[in-house]
């Protein structure tokens, strides 16, 4: 049958106008049906493709990322993927040659968005445009789409805020404290030119406190007696969970240093005992005498601080535990025969006598640590003083010919730098800390007053998850 015959049959004797109308009607109707059929097919296909589980791990800013996302469906032909660009996100998206998969690669960088002043959501939407084999697509929807979510975690460094403490709005008692503090105690060289050890200390509010506009809870106090040449160093870490711990740590340092200062201004008997002990370190009697002296000086200092904190809490009608603080306290002096060092330690952090030349490091006690992070003991706990044996074990003393540095630090420094007790006992790690200070701008040379600012700057080091207040004191 030829075309003319076919049309004649189809027209079935109608005039041209009527027949044209009829053809239009049939065509429109069938087109609609056809299009609806296509749309149904498209919807079904998209649903099927949307159901394909894809592996798209989260990315993190400034950490290299490379991931190939494979649809695993042989009929898919990916045309392009929108939503990410090297310019805006630091990530390139390329469709693989097989057109069944695409690759996201690069080092995420969200600064272009950040610099534009837009708030950054961590979730970004990608749209994959694709064709599907055997599926005819109409002009109004030339490509199918699959939406995907990619999480790009921001670099936490950009998320930290430095919010000043609003002291005016702070409820009473305010116990105002600076966000940072540093001090250098210069002990001039002897007339014959022999250098004498100096003390440097720095303390800085942690990022976790700065983020919330909370004050610094750490404190320190240094003292050197020009007449007797005794050194006294205290470092205290107020508990993050205790409301007035910033005052607890201040009192702990001030009271103990004050007590030691007074006791050491006139301590001939104590020094005699130290001499005796030095001559015969095996002598039980001499050992007992020195131990009693240390108990009377450091032990009493710690107890007085405990009592004064309790008194302050009572005055302000607060609980003593609102003032919870740790305490690291050391006294030392150079004798003809070498250095005498005595210490008291309650809580976490670290106190260590470090000798680079002889490759030794001695912890002056044991940090109080629990099974869980952040658990420790505080000077404010009555049980610290309840058991004499336990209390005595917190006191330590020793005589050494010389040393490189005596370190006292809060856990804000010791946690990121040492992490574990095993490391605290490793001289290698103390060597590393000594080098770390030197390599990062802290010049621990004799009479270098600038070291206090250098040390304060050094305290800004980055360590993920470690953003507590940081305090360090070094006698060197």
């Amino acid at each position: 049958m030829n075309t003319e015959k076919f049309l004649e049959l189809l027209a079935n004797g109608k005039n041209d106008t009527d027949f044209e109308e009829f053809l239009k009607f049939v065509s429109d109707k069938l087109w609609n049906q056809y299009n609806k059929h296509l749309m149904d097919e498209i919807l079904m296909t998209e649903n099927k493709v949307n159901g394909i589980a894809l592996n798209l791990p989260n990315a993190s800013e400034n950490k290299p990322y490379e991931q190939t996302i494979d649809f695993g469906d042989t009929k898919i032909a990916i045309e392009r993927v929108d939503g990410l660009s090297a310019e805006t996100h630091g990530l390139n998206v390329t469709v693989c040659d097989d057109k069944k998969s695409f690759k996201i690669a690069g080092t995420p960088d969200l600064n272009p968005i950040r610099n534009a002043g837009t708030e950054i959501e961590s979730t970004f939407e990608l749209t994959v445009f694709y064709k599907y084999e055997g599926l005819c697509l109409p002009p109004k929807k030339p490509l199918l789409e699959r939406k995907l979510q990619l999480v790009i975690n921001q670099d936490p460094r950009y998320l930290w805020k430095n919010i000043p403490v609003d002291w005016e709005k702070m409820s009473d008692p305010k116990y105002e404290k600076e966000d940072a503090d540093c001090q250098y105690v210069t002990v001039k060289a002897l007339p014959d030119g022999t250098p004498q050890k100096d003390i440097v200390a720095a303390s800085k509010r942690g990022r976790s406190h700065a983020q919330e506009g909370k004050p610094r809870d750490d404190d320190f106090q240094l003292y050197h007696d020009e007449q007797t040449n005794w050194y006294v160093i205290a470092v205290a870490d107020g508990a993050g969970s205790a409301k007035f711990s910033r005052e607890g740590s201040r009192l702990a340092c001030n009271v103990t240093v004050e007590v030691c200062k007074k006791a050491l201004s006139n301590c001939e008997k104590f020094e005699e005992n130290i001499n005796l002990w030095h001559i015969d370190q095996k002598s039980e009697d001499a050992g007992k005498l020195v131990s009693t002296d240390i108990y009377n000086i450091l032990g009493k200092a710690a107890h007085k601080a405990h009592t004064e904190i309790n008194a302050e809490a009572a005055r302000e009608k607060n609980r003593p535990k609102d003032y919870a603080t740790t305490l690291l306290l050391a006294i030392c002096k150079k004798f003809d025969f070498g250095w005498f060092i005595a210490s008291f330690w309650v809580g976490d952090g670290a106190m260590c006598l470090y000798d680079k030349e002889n490759h030794t490091s001695v912890l002056l006690g044991t940090p109080d640590e629990g099974e869980y992070g952040g658990q420790t003991r505080f000077l404010t706990m009555p049980e610290i003083f309840a058991n004499p044996t336990d209390f005595f074990s917190r006191l330590k003393c020793r005589i050494v010919p010389d040393f490189t540095a005596l370190f006292l630090m809060s856990d804000g420094v010791s946690d990121p730098k040492f992490e574990t007790d095993v490391n605290l006992n490793s001289t290698e790690k103390w060597n590393a800390l000594w080098d770390d200070l030197k390599d990062n701008g802290v010049e621990l040379t004799d009479d270098n007053e600038a070291a206090k600012e250098q040390l304060l700057n050094w305290l800004d080091f980055w360590a993920p998850g470690n953003h507590d207040d940081r305090t360090i004191a070094i006698l060197y």
Binding site: N153, R157, D237, S241, E371, Y372, G373, T376, H467
Partner: protein
């Protein structure tokens, strides 16, 4: 590095089907998005999600917030709420996932536990036994949320003093609850004493404290 483990236990029994579970999902997505903006959380928080109905599943093992992808949560048509079995699994998982401090390894922060239910434990005997077991495992805070009118608060009080109730199971209530959970997580991992628990932030008014 010290992690802050956060365990989230969600009732997925039949009665949670529909709007309630969808609202929980939205609430959790908001929570995760908010926590991602908190640098401290981003570096320390690890989340595990356990669902319980007639079956208990750990949908997400303890996963760092940075790597976390929220799973789809499905609810069966009907069936019992095995809250006791959920606590049993929690204790087992705790033992294997939470790192205790040792001389060689830094301990995790003490974990947080959030439990949300809209009913009552069907396995009440096991539940009672397990509340004691959970208490032997230490948590900085255990927060239990009784959602909707049918939720019973009495059994939850055996588990913790921090029992809260949501009158409605609509999206707004869940949203407020999870915002508050977010605050709690943000406050976790702060230095605490050996015997102290951390004080909870004030709950929003949609979340009622059950005394």
């Amino acid at each position: 590095m010290r992690r802050l483990p956060v365990y989230i236990l969600i009732d997925t029994s039949g009665s949670m089907r529909g709007e309630p579970i969808e609202s929980v999902k939205v609430g959790m997505a908001d929570m995760v998005a908010t926590l991602r903006q908190d640098p401290y959380a981003l570096e320390t928080v690890c989340i595990s999600i356990i669902t319980f109905d007639s079956e208990v599943k750990q949908l997400v093992p303890l996963t760092p917030l940075a790597d976390l992808q929220l799973p789809d949560i499905v609810t069966p048509e009907s069936g019992p709420t095995l809250t006791g079995a959920a606590l049993q699994m929690l204790c087992k998982i705790y033992d294997s996932e939470v790192q205790m401090g040792t001389p060689q390894k830094k301990g995790d922060w003490m974990p947080l536990l959030f439990l949300m239910t809209d009913g009552k434990p069907a396995d009440i005997q096991l539940y009672k036994q397990m509340t004691g077991e959970v208490k032997r495992h230490q948590f900085t805070n255990i927060v239990a949320c009784a959602a909707g009118p049918k939720a019973q608060t009495e059994p939850l009080k055996l588990l913790t003093d921090n029992v809260f109730s949501l009158e409605n199971m609509d999206s707004n209530s869940f949203k407020k609850f999870f915002q508050w959970v977010t605050l709690n997580i943000g406050a976790g991992g702060k230095s605490v004493g050996t015997t102290d628990s951390v004080e909870l932030p004030e709950p929003p008014k949609e979340v009622n404290l059950v005394i």
